[in-house]
């Protein structure tokens, strides 16, 4: 696809052809009082050196050197240097949607490898080329289940990331899809199975749960699947922390898995771009939104890659397309592909073990202080945990910030019943010294008393 500007000579010829004297003539119908007859009030052109100075100064305003216990859908993991050096290659960085297989083999193969790795990790038969992020992935998975079942109701766990639920709400609101929220067990932080069983009916298209869930707790997927499948509904498992798959059993009982793959080598970058994924059992492949790359053989018998099942996509079947996901997150998905290739099967497992160990140490160290209790200890978790403090987060957060530590996120914003409860995350890059420092700062008030 080329964007070629017109030369002055071409403009003259075009104007002559339509009988206009100048470009301004084309706008003559607009009343003079609505026309802007001065230059736009934008800053003057700057020299490159001035622009660099400007951004250096702006960059210096960033807070640096903080240890952060924030997680909740956006995770700090180490990014091997090879990721950025490879994705910046022009062949990947500037390539467009690979409609034309003949000239896009590299891009198509990279996507195919991504799909293969994601399918293996999630225990599904097939994965797509990526979605925008974990939230749109979850919402599109629900829409996919509606198409596959012909049913028109959704059941959603309250422990699915609240922002994912908001995105789903935006989708369902205009599709007129009713959805029921199912609460959690106060001891385990897992979905309340009794309420779930009562909420799933013969009209339910899909049940959406998350594991590890928003409290960091790993759900009992086989037990949930039994309840869901008993009513002929589909089970969608959302995964916000992809690194958990290094150690947590994949949700093989699910019909559809939606995932946020940011943890696989994608920088946090002020909230995006992230990388969503949908993977599913093969029987649902035709209802899957977005691109799908397949492997084939060319006329000479060589392995080749193509966009497959694209007859259902919007560039061919506009108004009846399975979704309007268009140019995908190919470059971000490539980061995840490189990350997974660098770590490999053993590496991902070790990485997950480090996360588990760091989070266990953090949970133990922080909750050992007086006035601090760890909640939801009745079920296994991954690299996040919930703490309840006697003081409110507003009271202790400044003490931590003074020690250059960003504490856990206040859960009462989404769960008013969880007063003084915060969600903490510790990944492999969290130094033990910072965990100890956080425990000290958190308990400082009680120490003084």
């Amino acid at each position: 696809m080329r964007y070629l500007p017109k030369s002055p000579a071409e403009r003259e010829r075009m104007l002559a052809e339509i009988g206009a004297a100048s470009i301004d003539d084309l706008f003559a119908v607009i009343p003079a009082k609505h026309c802007l007859n001065r230059d736009l009030a934008v800053p003057r052109a700057h020299a490159e050196s001035e622009i660099i100075d400007y951004f250096r100064a702006a960059g210096a305003k960033n807070s640096t050197g903080y240890a952060s216990f924030l997680g909740a859908g956006a995770y700090r993991h180490y990014r091997p240097a090879i990721i950025d050096s490879l994705v910046q290659r022009g062949e990947f960085l500037t390539s467009y949607t690979p409609y034309q297989a003949e000239i896009s083999q590299g891009t198509l193969q990279a996507i195919f490898e991504f799909q293969t790795m994601i399918a293996e990790l999630t225990g599904m038969d097939v994965a797509n080329a990526s979605m925008y992020d974990g939230s749109t992935g979850a919402a599109e998975a629900v829409m996919m289940a509606v198409r596959a079942t012909g049913r028109h109701q959704a059941v959603v766990a309250a422990t699915v990331h609240p922002e994912y639920r908001e995105v789903l709400g935006t989708y369902t609101k205009y599709q007129g899809l009713p959805s029921t929220l199912v609460g959690y067990d106060r001891k385990t932080g897992r979905i309340d199975l009794t309420t779930l069983a009562a909420s799933v009916t013969d009209e339910t298209a899909a049940v959406l749960v998350q594991s590890p869930n928003f409290f960091g707790v790993i759900e009992d997927i086989p037990a949930i699947a039994e309840v869901v499948h008993a009513k002929g509904a589909l089970l969608i498992v959302s995964i916000a922390e992809a690194v958990s798959l290094g150690i947590v059993r994949p949700p093989v009982e699910a019909d559809i898995v939606s995932m946020e793959a940011q943890s696989f080598g994608v920088a946090l970058s002020y909230g995006g771009p992230f990388c969503g994924v949908i993977a599913a059992k093969e029987q649902f492949v035709r209802q899957m939104p977005g691109r799908l790359v397949g492997q084939t053989v060319d006329s000479s018998g060589y392995r080749g890659f193509v966009l497959t099942l694209s007859t259902r996509e919007q560039h061919i079947r506009r108004e009846k397309a399975t979704s309007n996901i268009c140019t995908n997150q190919a470059l971000v998905a490539l980061m995840a592909t490189i990350f997974l290739s660098v770590y490999g099967k053993e590496g991902i497992r070790e990485l997950a073990e480090h996360n588990l160990a760091k989070a266990s140490y953090a949970a133990k160290t922080l909750s050992a202080k007086p006035g601090i209790t760890q909640l939801f200890t009745g079920a296994p978790r991954f690299n996040e945990f919930v703490l309840q403090t006697e003081e409110s987060p507003a009271q202790w957060s400044q003490r931590l910030l003074d020690a250059k530590i960003v504490g856990g996120i206040d859960l009462s914003r989404w769960y008013p019943e969880l007063r003084n409860c915060t969600l903490w995350c510790a990944t492999e890059i969290m130094p033990r010294a910072q965990i100890d420092a956080a425990a000290k700062a958190l308990a400082a008030k009680l120490v003084k008393a």
């Binding site: 012909g150 035709r286 007859t311 259902r312 061919i316 079947r317 009846k320």
Partner: protein
């Protein structure tokens, strides 16, 4: 390929054969020829209601996905399970390969459809 005289046809290129109040529905030779190799048929379920001129499924070829329109109103009594594994039967024998069977709510609806000569005249017009 000849269009059976006892069948009736739609402008969306489906055929229907009536046996009592049960109609067998498929797509015409013209339709399969325009679609090319059929790789998948999206079928309704037995017991589903179908409405005249409304979609009841789709056929997917290597070129496109096309909706299937029901010629009549009624209830699905059978689906052709064979098409799940061998959708190309439609290409091979379009007029012998039914896709669904429907119990017509009003069997008289059959006679309101195009007969073979009217359908042949219609496609002759389409291909002009």
């Amino acid at each position: 390929m000849a269009y059976p005289a006892n069948y009736r046809y739609t402008r969306e290129h489906e055929w229907i054969e009536l046996d009592g109040s049960i109609g067998s529905i498929g797509i015409t030779d013209y339709a399969q020829n325009s679609l090319g190799d059929i790789v998948y048929v999206d079928l309704p379920k037995v017991g589903d209601a179908v409405t005249a001129n409304a979609t009841f499924g789709s056929v997917e070829s290597v070129k496109a996905v096309s909706d299937l329109y029901s010629p009549v109103t009624g209830t699905v009594t059978a689906i052709n399970e064979e098409l799940k594994s061998a959708p190309d039967k439609i290409n091979e024998k379009p007029h012998e390969t039914w896709i669904i069977k429907v119990k017509l709510a009003n069997p008289a609806e059959f006679n309101g459809l195009l007969d073979a000569s009217a359908y042949e005249a219609f496609i002759a017009e389409e291909t002009k």
